[in-house]
């Protein structure tokens, strides 16, 4: 079987949807955060495969930007989650309810 662009895109869509499901369904902040990274990497995969099959390099350059930004985001995000964990001794979304209507 020949592996074409649509196969890569299907995998990328699948990863994106899995990540989205993880964000919606999981209750642990760290797992939610992992799912978010999965979604970003799904976009990276799409960019790289478009880049490969269209013979253009812009997409791969954008991937480097995304990886860098994601690293910064993870650094800040994990620091925040750790700070919250110290305060509440829990990293579950059910505990994030001090502000409601």
């Amino acid at each position: 079987m020949h592996i074409g662009l649509q196969h890569y895109l299907a995998v990328s869509m699948l990863l994106f949807c899995l990540g989205l499901l993880g964000v919606i369904l999981r209750r642990n902040l760290l797992v939610i955060y992992m799912s978010l990274e999965l979604m970003l990497n799904a976009a990276n995969l799409a960019l790289v495969s478009f880049s490969r099959f269209n013979n253009k390099l812009d997409g791969q350059v954008l991937v480097f930007f995304i990886i860098t930004v994601a690293a910064a985001e993870v650094a800040v995000g994990l620091a925040l989650i750790v700070a919250l964990y110290r305060k509440r001794q829990s990293a579950h979304v059910e505990d994030l309810t001090s502000m409601k209507l």
Binding site: A43, A46, L47, G59, F65, E73, L80, R88
Partner: protein, 486 residues
Amino acid sequence: MNMSLIGLEISVIGLGLVLMLADLFMPAERRKFVGYAGIAALGAMLLFSFADVGTCSIAGTAFNGSFINDGISLFFKRFFILAAILVLFIAAEFSDRFAVGSVAEYYSLVVFALAGMLFAASANDFVMLFVSIELITITFYVLVSFQRSKLASLEAGVKYLILGALSSSFMIFGIALIWGTTGELNFTKLAAVAPQFETSKIFLLGVLLVLVGLGFKIAAFPFQIWAPDVYQGAPTPTTAFLAIGSKAAGFVLLLRFLFTAVPSVTMHWGKLLIILSGITILYGNLCALPQRNIKRLLGYSSIAHAGYLLLGVAALNAAGQTAILYYLAGYLFTVLAAFLVIALVLRHLDTDDISGLAGLGQRSPLLAATMTISMVSLAGIPPLAGFFGKFLLLKSVVEAAQATGNQGYYCLVFTALAGVVMSLYYYFGVVRMIYWSKEPSDMSPIALSPAAKLTAWICIMGIFWLGLFPNSVLVLAGEAAKALGK
């Protein structure tokens, strides 16, 4: 490439680094005054951007077309610098609520967020759009949770983090799809090829996903979930910067994306924009009605104002774009006035309940007047800035209705007017609390520093000036909006 095109951005980033270093060399109790140095530097940059000799006002592109200096970018750069100056004033007043000595760090983060906004104002391709929006958002994660000892602040930070990261992954996936189908990242080049992809489902999905990411920044329905919680939990100066800086950055990117990058698609999406705008106005105003927490109330009101601003986007004409710029300028002074008063009056109370403002009319007439003028302007009563802005937005929508014959536009006008009427109730609830509350518990006068008085006067003058003499800003806004249609 002319490096001096990014002169403003370079100086702002340099200022951020200097403020951060000042943290090392200043004794903790004097770090509050670092902010005034920052304000002076930003003020100099603002003046420089108005001077004719300034190179930052030259039109041109840099970095292979990904960075553009034109009318609209210059308008927004001045706007963002002014907003950051006023936010630094509020932060200096608020500094005793932060951990000892950490305020210089806060100033530098505000300035870094400002750098992101300046880049956003000049973004002309998707890489710049993504990186600038992330620079703003990631800085705001820290700014929102800056009061680490306060659970509400941390909780707001985590909520903003999760939803912000979610929206940026939607946006980047959208960018991947747009680039994959068209092969262009640059807005100007994309506009040339976009018409031939109008029937491509993948391309349209990409445009929609990018709109999701930008909708999150401006807190438009249905991506507004985060706004009330984050507004309530964040430290007051952060909330102020979020309400004006982050929202305006979202709008400049939205305008560029819709009207420079994919204008051919946008012209067919009038209906979608009408619905978005209408629901956002209704949602914001209806949810604000029962609120007792003033910051949460302003959070919902900011959603409503995102809806009003979307009126100008939905109108799909140059008048609408001009009105958006003018409205944002008025909103700047109005909303910063409100948050200045909240920061000064409520910072020593445990709650942000509206009742904390009780008796303000006697405790501090200046602050009471500032808050009243701000609320009246937000509600849209003549002759203040908010009235004229809303008038221009509605006028542009009526023009669009006459030009296209689309009945949806008339429905939108009525929705917006209904929203304005609803908003009178909660804005005047605040004014009533200030002057006519039953039994104010604390009647001690509030001592104001000269800087706080100055900020309050700047905001009051700004609101009146924009309302009474709108012409000069309107001319600037009109010039700026011309850059979009090219």
